[in-house]
């Protein structure tokens, strides 16, 4: 239990010494990705092997510095999920990828005991072997500030967080700054909400501070529901204390004494790590009453979502914490005035809070040197889809798509051709080849008709049908529509029905115009952000890929060859020997003919399963 500032500083110093004393460290990635690829088994195996061989290793940082032990740590997500399980070896900075339990013996023997590098476990790009993590192109181009601790310290340990300077920003804010000074610093840094909206965080905090109501709340939105996004999950799992620290600073600035973190139910590991982190902070006296001997009292609770995308919307989220149906309400009044339990509330996203300690520590002037002036700082993106390197990345705002996709992402997978990238999830839009040099920041994207959203980047190749992608998102939004307002509830249903007809080859003249008209109405009249943006993926794909829509509607053809119903399977009469094999294998008896004469497929019966194609010994059945 830390009672005052001196004790906190002392603790930080003691743990820093202990951490620095550990000459060798093995950081096993314990993010959701690597855990599901088996990283925890590797952690146990390595620990067990070292014990058997009499190598002393410590799985928890102790106060006394030990020089000859190997520090074994379960770290946060390294980001390179595709290559998992990942292991980082310190002090060399080596990264081993796709490690299997069978490799553990060799790692202990060669790397830990003798300091030798094992080449076959290193990342290879073509003929180049990247020994160090920083040599890998995936990492080279990144600027990891918010994700700096992820992969470098034990995610479950407040001691290691303290050892790397943790809670020093909170300390500075608590003892050396007034509430107004904190707000000024954040405002000057121009930190904008990373949840998608891009609203300046400092302004939000100032508005809450102005409220005269004594009870105020600080709420963290960890309901990262956009399909294809997992930045916030990685921060909650990999560096939970930085999130807590950011919330504590926000609470100091606006005078709140209670905080909530709303985490979606699909993230059980994030919930566990946050619970541990909160318990550790309480035990250390960094949360609770009269923190570090001051007047400031603050406590944080966790609220688990129950599977509703709409709860990522501010007023729906607070309703859900209150134990109600998560449905948005009409605004104003805004959350800053009447938020959680009808009290003034600061509501920010995980990544936004995680930026706060950095800004307080290093100052707004430093922060503004990163990225463009009107949206400074970095942004974490989840890079997924038909791309070589999938994973979690962090780059300065204003980095171009080309750099992200072709340099960090390593280009397209399986030799596909880049077609589009979907950004901002179901509220976002598609960017195409023409946008590759567009800087990714809040304002440029809005201008291009997309939005940064929470930061999911799904890269699509030429075999992806854009109409089908639009249908997919509309299906998602329609499913997740809470049903409170008519435009969203009914409008998305109508749009989905039209899109389904189009991909099924039943599109009609006028469908595109109808989609655009519906989109316009929904955007203008829906109650909340989910509804207002529901039509964006459709509008954006029509704008960039109108020809694909037209091919579906007028020629009943899918240019990407992805839409099942638009495929035509036919028998080439010249190649068919009339063996009747296909007609016997067809599950719906769509193929008929006389033996030794060419067979034909009845298109009205065919379900396009493709079984006949595989069965034909003469390769006479083709797909178009």
């Amino acid at each position: 239990m830390l009672h005052n500032r001196e004790e906190l500083q002392k603790a930080r110093q003691v743990y820093a010494e202990a951490l620095n004393a550990e000459e060798k460290k093995i950081l096993v990635c314990a993010g959701t990705g690597c855990v599901s690829s088996g990283s925890l088994e590797i952690f146990d195996k390595l620990t067990q092997l070292m014990q058997e061989k009499g190598i002393s290793c410590s799985v928890e940082l102790e106060q006394e510095p030990h020089h000859d032990v190997v520090g074994m740590k379960k770290s946060g997500c390294h980001g390179f999920c595709e290559m998992g399980p990942l292991i980082r070896i310190e002090p060399q900075g080596w990264l081993y990828v796709k490690v299997k339990p069978e490799d553990c013996e060799e790692i202990v023997e060669k790397t830990i005991s003798n300091g030798e590098h094992i080449e076959r476990l290193a990342y290879q790009k073509g003929k180049t072997i990247c020994q160090k993590q920083d040599d890998i192109p995936f990492y080279k181009k990144q600027t990891r500030l918010v994700l700096n601790h992820c992969g470098h310290i034990d995610a479950n340990s407040i001691k290691e967080y303290l050892a790397v300077g943790g809670y020093s920003a909170f300390e500075k804010a608590l003892f050396d700054m007034t509430a107004d000074e904190i707000i000024t610093e954040i405002s000057e840094s121009n930190l904008r909400g990373r949840g998608g909206g891009g609203f300046p965080a400092g302004r939000k905090w100032a508005q809450v501070k102005r409220q005269t109501e004594p009870q105020k709340y600080v709420v963290c939105n960890g309901d990262e529901g956009d399909p294809g996004a997992f930045m916030d999950r990685s921060i909650m799992e990999g560096d939970p204390h930085s999130l807590l620290e950011g919330m504590m600073i926000a609470a100091l600035s606006c005078g709140a004494n209670e905080g909530y973190i709303y985490v979606r139910a699909e993230y059980p590991m994030a919930v566990n790590r946050l619970r541990t982190a909160i318990a550790q902070a309480k035990e250390a006296g960094l949360l609770g009453n009269n923190i570090l001997g001051t007047e400031f009292s603050f406590d944080i609770h966790i609220s688990r979502g129950a599977g509703a995308f709409v709860c990522g919307e501010g007023s729906a989220l607070t309703a859900s914490i209150e134990g109600k149906r998560g449905m948005p309400r009409v605004k104003p009044p805004r959350t800053v005035e009447h938020g959680l339990f009808d009290k003034p509330t600061v509501l920010n996203n995980v990544e936004t809070y995680a930026n706060v300690p950095l800004i307080i520590n290093k100052g707004a002037a430093w922060y503004k040197t990163i990225g463009p002036e009107n949206s400074p700082g970095t942004k974490a993106f989840a890079l997924t889809g038909n791309i070589v390197n999938t994973g979690l990345i962090e780059v300065p705002m204003g980095t171009t798509l080309r750099e992200i996709i072709f340099e960090i992402g390593g280009g397209m997978r399986d030799g596909g051709e880049f077609k589009a990238v979907q950004i901002g999830g179901p509220s976002g839009g598609c960017l195409t080849k023409d946008d590759l040099d567009l800087p990714l920041d809040f304002d440029s994207l809005t201008k291009a008709g997309a939005m940064i959203g929470s930061g999911g980047l799904v890269v699509m190749d030429d075999k992806t049908c854009m109409v089908e992608v639009a249908r997919f998102f509309m299906n998602f939004t329609q499913n997740e529509s809470c049903g409170k307002c008519v435009p969203c509830r009914e409008g998305t249903k109508r749009m989905l029905a039209i899109l389904e007809r189009i991909v099924n080859g039943e599109g009609e003249d006028g469908d595109i115009e109808m989609l655009l008209e519906l989109a316009d109405t929904i955007s203008a009249t829906a109650l909340c952000g989910l509804g207002k943006t529901a039509a964006f993926p459709v509008v954006s794909t029509i704008k960039s890929f109108r020809d694909e829509y037209e091919a579906h509607i007028y020629q009943k053809r899918c240019p990407a060859g992805a839409c099942q119903k638009l495929k035509q399977i036919y028998i080439v009469p010249e190649l068919c020997k009339g063996c009747s094999k296909c007609s016997r294998i067809c599950p719906v008896t769509a193929i008929s003919g006389k033996v030794k004469e060419p067979f034909v497929i009845d298109q009205s019966k065919c379900i396009k399963c493709g079984a006949c194609i595989e069965s034909c010994p003469f390769h006479a059945i083709k797909e178009a």
Binding site: F230, G305, E322, G323
Partner: protein
Amino acid sequence: MKQAFDFTAVDKIIDEIGAQPSSIIAILQGIQEKYRYLPQEVFPYMAERLGVSEARIYSVATFYENFSLEPKGKFVIKVCDGTACHVRKSIPILERLRSDLGLSEDKATTDDLGFTVETVSCLGACGLAPVLTVNDKVYPAMTPDKASELLEQLKEEL
């Protein structure tokens, strides 16, 4: 006659979390973890203990996708159909699981209460797409064949 429902476990959950209306979701989650669904008996009981209407609790239980009023299988398989998994072909996996188990979109649970198959909108493991989870354990980079194999393994544990 139907056996009387034993509320001891429910009481324990409510006492641990606290009997206030803002805890409805947390309590329902606790109950669902215990029974794998929300037995209808708990609604009037919770309403009385929390001092709210039964309709309020029912409205919450039916709003959130994670709550089920129907019993679920011992193994709940969730196939991710988030964007990343979708573009890396998650639907054929779902179809294989359903056909192997004789399930469909309308029938999610096998009659012996062994398996429930459902979709989930993004588990956040997009780097490993396509993924599915079995009772919250994530299985990465799945294919229809791997899914069938997994089913065989799980059947032995039934």
